[in-house]
Each structure stands twice: as C-alpha cells, then as structure tokens.
Amino acid sequence: MNINKYPEIVPGHKFLKQFYIGIMTWTIGKAFQVMYKLDKNVRAEFDRLPANFMMMLCILPEDAFKPFFYAKIMPDFVVNYGLLPLGVPMILGKDKEGKLKYMGSDKRGKKITLKLCMKSIDEAFRIFSFREPLAVAFNHGIYIVDGDLPESLAFVRAMEIVLVTLLPKSLAKMFVKRYPSWKELPPVKKWINRVLLWLRVYTVG
C-alpha cells in the first residue's frame, strides 16, 4: 500500500470570511472597550468580575485561524514583520487598573479565564453577517469551552448593549431577543452613545 496515495487532509482556508470576521471582531472588541467607558450598565457587568478576567471568543478548531501575519521590506532592506491587529479570536480582558480593554487576537502570553468557541467559521460568519440571533447562536453554535457561567452571562449581557448601541435597529434586532423599548433606552442617549462610540472606535479607543 502506498501511503502517499492517502494524503493528510488540510482544512481549507476561507480567507474572505476570515477577513470579514476579523474586521467585525476588531470593531466589536474596540466597541467593548469604548462602551466600558461610556455606559454604566456595561461597566457594572464587568466590574463585578474578578480582576484577572480575560476572555477569548474564538472559532473551532482553535489553532486553524492564526492572527494575520505581515512582512514588508523597509527602504534599507530590513524586513519588518509583525502581527496585524486583525485576527479571528477576540480577546477582552482587564488591565492593571481593572478597566476593560480589547487585547487583540493573539492569545500568547495571556491567561484566558473564559473561552467561548464558535463551532465553525461558517457559524461565525452567520452570526457576524446578522443571519442568526445571538440567543440562537448561544444555544446552537457557541460553546463555553472553559470558564465560568457568571462571566459568560456578563459578556452576553454587555454584548447586547454594545450591539444595540453600535448597530442600526434593523441589524441589532437580530442579535437581541427583545429590542429595548424607549423607556429602557432613551433614543437621545442611544444616539449620543452611538456617535461617540463610532468616533472613538477608530480614534482614541
């Protein structure tokens, strides 16, 4: 038997989907960081958690989706290489002062206390292209692989607030079970936060 006739199957790379999801996780990760400063409800959710809180949202199989890598040759032929801030995993954690920060997508050197995994890249794409509500996704496609329930509940709750602020109603509706009424979230507050949020995601963070 010629073993070479049976090559190992290498998982396909869906670069476009990966790139799209990378942009989404980067934006949402940054949005978490900004919303932590803007919104007292988001702040309350995370302040309740222990100081070493560090969570990662990733896609299974975990190591198949490496952070984007770049290398470029600088004018004096020095090769400059590093990691782009874009990557599929989204890591959120507390910094030394206990504030929530987006920590990029590279898990090396970080102690993850809560790991949520999406079943596949297609599942992730369905979620981030607004075709599957977050509640359904959590029941079907996102698993708590490691960590504690209170932490993941806090994340989900904060995620709902972030997405409602970040996205227009028609898209955000897909993510939450019930879109907040005027009483729960006054439109003025929502719009002020939305403008500030979008401005700061791409600037000071």
């Binding site: 029941n139 504690d148 329930l149 509940l153 989900v156 709750r157 939450v176």
Partner: protein, 421 residues
C-alpha cells in the same frame, strides 16, 4: 414537529427500572469491574430505612464498603472533599448515590475528586474542567423529580464565598440510574407533589426552550402526559407502586429532555427564590410554572399550545380552538396546583405568599421581591428562554406569583422579533 437547523442530543445513562431493580445493582457494578462501592446519602434517607432496603436487596453478592450519610440539604464542596477523602482511605472503586438532588450532586462531585485526584473540588469548577472518564457511578433517586440521574451538571455551594458553583461535563453523567418504586414509596404527599411538579417544569420548559429538538421533545411530551395522568392519584394513594414507578419514569424522561434542551425562565426565577429565601426547589417550580408559561406565551403560542395535548388529553385538545390552547394548558396547570393543594390539606402552596416554614413563618415576604428581581440576572437559565426577561419584568411576574393573580398579558413588553427555532 419543529426541526431546528442544528441540534445535539446525548443520553447515555443506562436506566434500570422495576419492582426488583435494586437487585440488579451487584451484577451491573461487576460488569463495570467495580466491587467496592461507597454509598453517598443523607441522614433523612437513612432514617426512613431506605438504605436498609437497598442493602438487603443487593444482598450478600455485594459488599458495601462504607455509607457516607453527612450530605446536608444544600450540597457544599467541603462535604465533597471530606467524602472523597473517605473514599480514598477505604479504597472504594465506585459510588452508589441514594437520595434527592443534593445527595446525587454531592456524589457527582465526589466522583470527580476521587477519580481525578487533587485535594479539592474547587480545582474543577466551571465548564470543561473534567476531561476524562470517571469511576462508576450508580444513582438511585428517592424523589421523583430532580432528574439528576440523567444530567451532566452538579450544583455545589461554596459556603465561604456564598455562591453556587456549577460543574458541567459529559463525563459526570452517571453510568446507571436505578428506578425502584420501593425507594419513593415513603415520600410524603406534599413532597411527592412538589418534586413531581419540578419534573413537570423540566419537561414543559424543555418543550418551549430555544434549544428544543425532536429527540428532547418526545421525552418531554411523554413525561408531561405521565405526570398529568398519575400525580393526583399517587398523592391521594401513597401506596400506589405502579403510579410511583410511572412518576419515577416521568421524572427521568423530563431529566433527559431538559439536560439536552435546557430549562428557562421558570428555573431562572425559581433558582433565585431558592438562593435568597431558601424556598425548596420543587415548591418554587410548581408556583412559578404557570407564570413562566404565561409570560412567554406570546412568543411561542403554538408550541405552548401543543402542551395541552399531554396535559389535558385528546378530548380537551380537540375541543379547544388552536388560538386558546396555550391559555387552556396554563389554566389546567393552575388547576393541578389547586387540586394538589386540596389533596395535601394545604401543604402544597399555590402562591409565593402561602409558603410557610416549619414554625409557620412566611418564607417570602413581599419586601424581598425587589431584591429577587435584581438577582435574576445572575442565573444561567435565562439564556434558553424564548422571551427576554429583565429585572423590571421579573418584578412584575414575582408580584403576581406572590399574590396569586394571573399576569396581565397586555402589560408584557413584546418588542422584537418572533423566535426562530
């Protein structure tokens, strides 16, 4: 039938049921290469003589190494560590858990520490911490309700931090569940009623949960039907062994259903009442079940309407127009609570304000409702309910459940889309 785009289902507990089920245990343990079991139970179970019945039934074929009966009402990790120490000292190789939810959860915890090593259960908290097969675990439930013999979860308290820790792993599923009506015969009427209503809640919530699937549905429907047909009769005739066996089967089926489809809002509200006011789980469930259904009705009216068939039977189902089936099902559950209240001479409470402790003091004062409503956000069961619930909504539900009045369904916040399963 609702066929979700994706679902998963797992049930790998061997179930042994019948009037002579206990006699099977020595052979079953031998089949798993185990011969030195430790019994984990609580003092109440020992006092009513159930351990003697079990020991006698297992006979001389099996030597019970030790009986650990220190399990408290709410299992806590210190007891687990202590029992694990005894397990190692006496060189046991398997566990037989006899009791209600607390004894079974303790046994699951002991099995982790005893099989995987380590000094304390705290090392294995959370999801995914248990990563390999554990030693044999046989579960003999003495209440027909919790369904713990079928679940992969154990809830164990940490008295120092005042929290309930959750342990979840497929490896924690027991190997064998033994349903023997001799073990539930001595259960007092009001406990029979409330534990069976807990099972009823598991089945109903599994049936309208976001994670429902065809396999869990079939278990849920059969469980609801069995409980509806047998519960009142068993409460009135405690010696009805056939009815007892039926309830035990229903509780196990409900366990299969909810361990795969999850529970929802009723457990969310109920866990909170249990944690803060120490209301027994089954009591909280029987009171809150109609309210949970009522609150979610507009989201899942078709699905909740289907519950009328197993609850009311084919005649009632056929005679009720489709639009009214959900409301009728809720009405029948309220009636069931009322009937149980009458049959137990008022020991089965219908509303939160009726719950009394042994000294006759009120367990849930009206002033605590606000605190309860805030605390619901800390419970995981809220994830799988089709309708969202926030503290303001919870307060409204609690107020009605306290007073015993139906929810004004016009006042429920209904924003958002219809759920797609």
């Amino acid at each position: 039938m609702l066929l979700p785009s994706y679902y998963d289902f797992c049930c790998r507990v061997k179930t042994v049921s019948g009037n002579k089920a206990l006699e099977q245990i020595p052979g079953l343990l031998a089949g798993m290469n185990a011969s030195r079991p430790m019994i984990i139970t609580d003092k109440g179970v020992v006092a009513v003589g159930l351990i003697d019945i079990a020991k006698k039934a297992m006979g001389k074929k099996l030597k019970i190494v030790t009986v650990y009966d220190n399990v408290p009402v709410d299992s806590n990790y210190k007891i687990v560590d202590d029992a694990a120490r005894v397990y190692r000292q006496k060189k046991c190789d398997s566990i037989i858990a006899i009791g209600g939810g607390s004894a079974i959860d303790t046994a699951k915890g002991v099995n982790i520490v005893a099989s995987l090593g380590g000094s304390s259960l705290l090392e294995y908290e959370g999801f995914g911490a248990v990563k390999r097969k554990l030693n044999p675990l046989v579960v003999i439930p003495t209440t027909a309700g919790t369904g713990s013999e079928m679940t992969l979860v154990a809830v164990i308290a940490d008295p120092d931090r005042k929290i309930k820790m959750l342990f979840v792993s497929y490896f924690m599923l027991p190997d064998i569940g033994v349903l023997d009506p001799r073990m539930t015969r001595t259960l007092p009427d009001f406990l029979t009623a409330s534990t069976a209503m807990d099972a009823m809640t598991h089945a109903c919530e599994a049936y309208f949960s976001m994670e429902k699937n065809p396999l869990s549905d079939s278990h849920a429907i059969q469980a609801i039907q069995t409980i509806s047909q047998n519960l009142l009769h068993v409460v009135k005739n405690p010696g009805d062994l056939k009815g007892r066996a039926a309830l035990a089967a229903a509780s196990t089926m409900a366990g299969v259903a909810f361990s795969n489809a999850m529970v929802g809002l009723v457990h969310n509200l109920g866990h909170t009442v249990g944690a803060i006011c120490h209301v027994p789980h089954g009591t909280a469930m029987s009171i809150l079940l109609p309210y949970g259904l009522e609150y979610s009705l507009h989201r899942a009216s078709d699905v909740i309407g289907e519950l009328l068939f197993p609850i009311g039977g084919p005649d009632v189902y056929a005679a009720t127009p489709k639009k009214e089936r959900g409301e009728k099902a809720i009405e029948l559950i309220r009636k069931m609570n009322q009937d149980l209240h009458d049959a137990t001479g008022g020991k089965h409470p219908r509303f939160l304000k009726e719950i009394r402790d042994r000294n006759g003091a009120q367990v849930v004062p009206e002033s605590v409702l606000e605190t309860l409503a805030q605390a619901i956000m800390l419970d995981g069961a809220r994830m799988s309910n089709p309708e969202e619930i926030y503290p303001a909504d919870a307060l409204m539900v609690y107020r009605h459940a306290w007073e015993g009045t139906p929810i004004n369904r016009k006042k429920i916040d209904k924003g958002g889309k219809k759920v797609k399963w």
